[in-house]
């Protein structure tokens, strides 16, 4: 199994305990949060991490058209992916620092989106001139906010 992967493909592999107690299942631990896709590619692939990018029949999505909404979705997605990674890799300082950077970008992107299209959370309405929460479109509807 090891011989099928070159040194450059280290990121496809994770670590296992050796030897390991019997009668348990062991999934290899992802070793690092790097390498990683940029936010737009991560969103279109459904993962931040190339090692976990395992498409059915090798068919992959094209990258999404860039709109204010998809930009926010991409940043939100990287934040979500880092949170799940940190849930099992809470000691990874490098990943935590990246998470901090992404949180700052997310705050800015969300505020921009709220100014453009109205509240994303109810509490975004602080300072607004009227109760805008009910305004459409709602997320399951065909026409997306931030796209006209």
């Amino acid at each position: 199994m090891k011989n099928k992967f070159s040194a450059e493909e280290r990121w496809r592999l994770g670590s296992l305990p050796d030897p390991a107690p019997l009668a348990a299942a062991y999934i290899p631990m992802q070793e690092s949060a790097k390498p990683q896709y940029d936010a737009g590619k991560a969103l279109s692939r459904g993962t931040l991490f190339p090692g976990l990018d395992l498409p059915f029949m090798n068919l992959v999505n094209p990258e999404l058209e860039r709109t204010p909404m998809t930009e926010l979705m991409a940043i939100d997605f990287v934040v979500d992916e880092l949170e799940l990674y940190l849930d099992t890799h809470w000691e990874d300082r490098e990943a935590f620092e990246l998470y901090q950077t992404m949180l700052a970008m997310q705050k800015e992107a969300k505020e921009r989106m709220v100014r453009l299209c109205g509240p994303i959370c109810q509490t975004d309405q602080l300072g607004m001139d009227a109760y805008r929460w009910l305004n459409g479109p709602w997320p399951w509807e065909l026409c997306e906010r931030g796209e006209g």
Binding site: P21, I27, G46, D87, I120, L142
Partner: protein
């Protein structure tokens, strides 16, 4: 508790209605391996977990699955708009339509309504995490099967995204299991149930 973000995790914009596709994709809302089952499984398992990282992981993945349920529901909602009576009959969606019109009802493609019988909360660390690994694989296979049945890129792009999430969740639950095993008695992982026995 839960707050709601008025946006999807990934966009759902289906240009062409298709009730025939809706008939199978509904399984990912209310079927045995669908997103509703996934979120209920994880969000309910977290209460009996003894370790913080498992409480956190199950909360976070369970929450994400609710967002996925919303996305699949959005697909169904958009696929079932503007249907003529002929299309409803021809697509075979008539047996769903008669009871639910173009509403989104959590059921399997077979017509079997969503049931907690399709999920387990065993109250044991090893049993529950292994259940979660199996659940993610089953969800992934269901998405593979939907990809075989659809040729509409508006739909398949979303399905590919959701399928990849299942693979990532599988990896994270596997890592959660590794972390749990690290905390347990390596000479005998089964000596007690850390979810129930103290010490």
């Amino acid at each position: 508790m839960f707050i709601y973000e008025k946006k999807l995790q990934y966009p759902v914009k289906i240009a062409r209605p298709n009730p025939k596709l809706a008939k199978v994709i509904i399984s990912q809302v209310g079927g045995p391996d669908g997103e509703l089952g996934a979120s209920m499984r994880y969000l309910n398992q977290r209460y009996s977990m003894p370790y913080d990282e498992l409480k956190g992981l199950l909360t976070d993945i369970g929450t994400e699955e609710l967002g996925h349920m919303e996305m699949v529901a959005a697909i169904i909602h958009q696929l079932t708009r503007e249907m003529s009576s002929e299309e409803i009959i021809r697509s075979g969606l008539d047996t769903y339509f008669v009871d639910h019109t173009a509403g989104v009802y959590p059921t399997a493609a077979s017509g079997f309504p969503w049931s907690a019988a399709s999920m387990a909360v065993k109250g044991d660390v090893l049993a529950d995490l292994n259940e979660d690994l199996a659940a993610e694989q089953k969800a992934r296979v269901t998405y593979d099967n939907i990809l075989r049945l659809s040729d509409d890129p508006d739909v398949t792009n979303v399905i590919r995204y959701l399928r990849e999430r299942e693979i990532v969740h599988y990896q994270r639950f596997g890592e959660g299991l590794r972390r749990a095993i690290d905390r347990m008695n390596e000479k005998n992982l089964y000596i007690v149930n850390p979810s129930f026995d103290r010490g």
